[in-house]
Amino acid sequence: MSSIEWAKKPARKISAPVGSGVDALRDWWAVQRGPVRWTVYLLLIVAAFLLPHEDLGTFMSPHSDWQSLLFYPIGGYILLAIGLNVVVGQAGLLDLGYVAFFAVGGYTMAVLGKQFGWSFWEIITVGVVLAALSGVLLGAPTLRLRGDYLAIVTLGFGEIIRIVATNTESIGGPNGVAGIPHPPNLTDWEFPDNAFFQALDLEGLKPFTYGALDTRPYYYLMLLAIIGTIVFAKRLEHSRVGRSWAAIREDEDAAELMGVPTFKFKLAAFAIGAAFGGLAGVLYGAQATSIIPKDFPFILSATILAAVVLGGSGNIPGVMVGAFLIAWIPERVRGVGEYRILVFGAALVIMMALRPEGLLPSRQRRAELKEGTGGMGSLGAEVGGPGGADVEVEVAK
């Protein structure tokens, strides 16, 4: 389809005031070398480690327990968003049933832990592998579909998993599974009770003892999982796999013509995304000790997708910020009580109208948006529009 002159609007400044300070920071970051970067990474990890501090909690969540909030939803959403970002942000496949993999992980933990007596550390590998397998199972027949067809099939898959769990009595039916064992303790070592650790609110904390009361050890487990997945996803992004994903996302036909085995890489994206979702599910199951099918509704898939898009699809720090905000804001504004989902819905609409590329978009994405192609195909009429044609060629440069 030839793009025509009126569709080429003068390049606008896309980032509103929100963006300019952040842009400066990102420009600074882009030129930094190893030592500075490692220092920043270390500082961030230390900050994340100290996050459960009570004083912070009174400000961040006056209405509910900050420490358990940090584990789930905040930590859980971040992990899920990083996983979904592999599928949606990097490979450009629209997945509306991501919660299915979260459920697979959760149920693996529940069934193997309770009915077979496996330990958490064994289950975590099995759960991740099973979730990845279910990603392959779902992907193999459906990944030949494109765009919205894939979206609706994944949505259907998410619903199927939930309904099957509700209807299968051997895994508890609608009542789910209760009494899932906690992970076994690694050591009972605790932080010494002195002034220094008291100031950090860490005194007496046993970081490797997984009980029912203190959620901080689970939060640290989640933190470790998040850091691991970030490293993994980041390494993938800069590898041959990541470049193939980007090519598929931008133009699948062109990628195929250039010799990228698109189906194979799309399947890989699905499997890896699913594995992250499964990991989140296992962790969630181990802490929650009981899960029911209703923990895995469609709206959770939508929420995670909203987190990815809100934060800036394709950019890991962006999706983490998005996931944090989406998990945290509804808890923070519990003061407005019953109206919080109402506010959340309105906020999504307004946010998309003001900054459709997300809070921290990936640089590549932003460039696409400036060209008016929008990455995943633009919405209607005014811009270089949705095409019936299979191959779109930009002619009038």
Binding site: E159, L305, L348, L379, G384
Partner: protein
């Protein structure tokens, strides 16, 4: 199990067709918006929900009760007008507030989908928390509970074999078919309909030919919304109950129906809706009602695997109509 199927074949067929008719009418909205904008209008299910409440309000206002025979047809017409107006107007408002700003910015379709999900949540909660308690005089914390309004006197109209067809099921089916034929004629014969088809086929060229895209998009949302409103009126007559969440599953099913028939294809929506309704009912007879939804989604996956463009193929944009 198979004997059950044989004895319940006709009842299941009738139920399937009357359920499928509602899917089909709802699928029209998805299919038209998708045809023109390539957007899954996720909030369409809430447009339907608004229609059900408009119908309910009319029922309460006039105090209909025990309506049967030809009076019922008249009452349904009144409800359909009310539902159609309410839903059509809210669909246009939705487009104006949630989608138009994004179109102007050339945002990605993913962003539009998120906006749609946000709008959907907002509308659901608006009804559950604010409008229902205020409008129907329900205690504030009971806004999420289903509301009922009985007004239909059910009667048997005629028999197929030893199974009798009830009046409400018949009206649902006929109503949907009539609306469908009317819409098909409208899109094929009028100037506005031609504009819709042209835009679906190639937005840029149609602008060059003098089509006002914004007007076409507004018209598409108005028509799709009105169809959802009619579906809502028929739904209220058939089930006489609604709540703020009523559209969610119906909406997903209707989108499934649209894909099943071939998205962007108006006749496909009718076929897809009916086929989906029948499959669901047969499936629930064979496997038990708790598997009804699983059957529907499994069929969807299978159809897409072997015939990705749906039963009748995508066609609003290919000048086949």
């Amino acid at each position: 199990m198979f004997n059950d199927f044989l004895t319940q074949f006709w009842p299941a067929t009738v139920d399937g067709l009357s359920l499928g008719a509602i899917y089909a009418l709802l699928a029209l909205g998805y299919t038209m918006v998708y045809g023109v904008l390539r957007l899954i209008n996720f909030a369409h299910s809430e447009i339907f929900m608004i229609g059900t409440f408009a119908s309910l309000a009319v029922v309460n206002l006039f105090g209909f009760s025990g309506v049967g025979g030809f009076t019922l047809v008249g009452v349904v017409l009144v409800l359909a007008v009310a539902g159609g107006l309410a839903s059509g107007a809210s669909a246009v408002a939705l487009e104006f507030l949630a989608y138009r700003p994004l179109r102007r910015k050339g945002a990605s379709r993913l962003a539009a989908l998120i906006s749609a999900i946000g709008a959907s949540l907002f509308l659901q909660q608006l009804f559950a928390r604010v409008l229902i308690p205020w409008w129907f005089d329900v205690p504030k914390d009971k806004g999420a509970l289903p509301l009922q309004g009985h007004f239909v006197e059910r009667a048997d109209v005629f028999a197929i074999g030893d199974f009798v067809v009830r009046n409400d099921k018949l009206i649902v089916f006929l109503g949907a078919v009539i609306m469908m034929v009317a819409l098909d004629q409208f899109v094929n014969r009028t100037k506005l309909g031609r504009g819709i088809r042209a835009t679906a086929q190639d937005p840029e060229t149609s602008v060059l030919m003098g089509v006002n895209i914004d007007r076409i998009v507004t018209a598409t949302f108005a028509i799709g919304g009105a169809m959802a409103g009619v579906a809502a009126a028929l739904y209220m007559m058939r089930f006489e109950e609604t709540d703020y969440f009523v559209g969610f599953l119906l909406g997903i099913k209707a989108f499934t129906a649209a894909v099943l028939g071939g998205i962007g294809n108006l006749r496909g929506a009718l076929v897809g809706g009916m086929v989906l309704g029948l499959i669901e009912m047969y499936g629930s007879v064979l496997l038990g009602t708790e598997w009804q939804h699983v059957v529907a989604f499994t069929v969807l996956v299978l159809v897409l695997m072997f015939r990705p463009t749906g039963i009748l193929g995508e066609s609003l944009q290919q000048a086949r109509v």
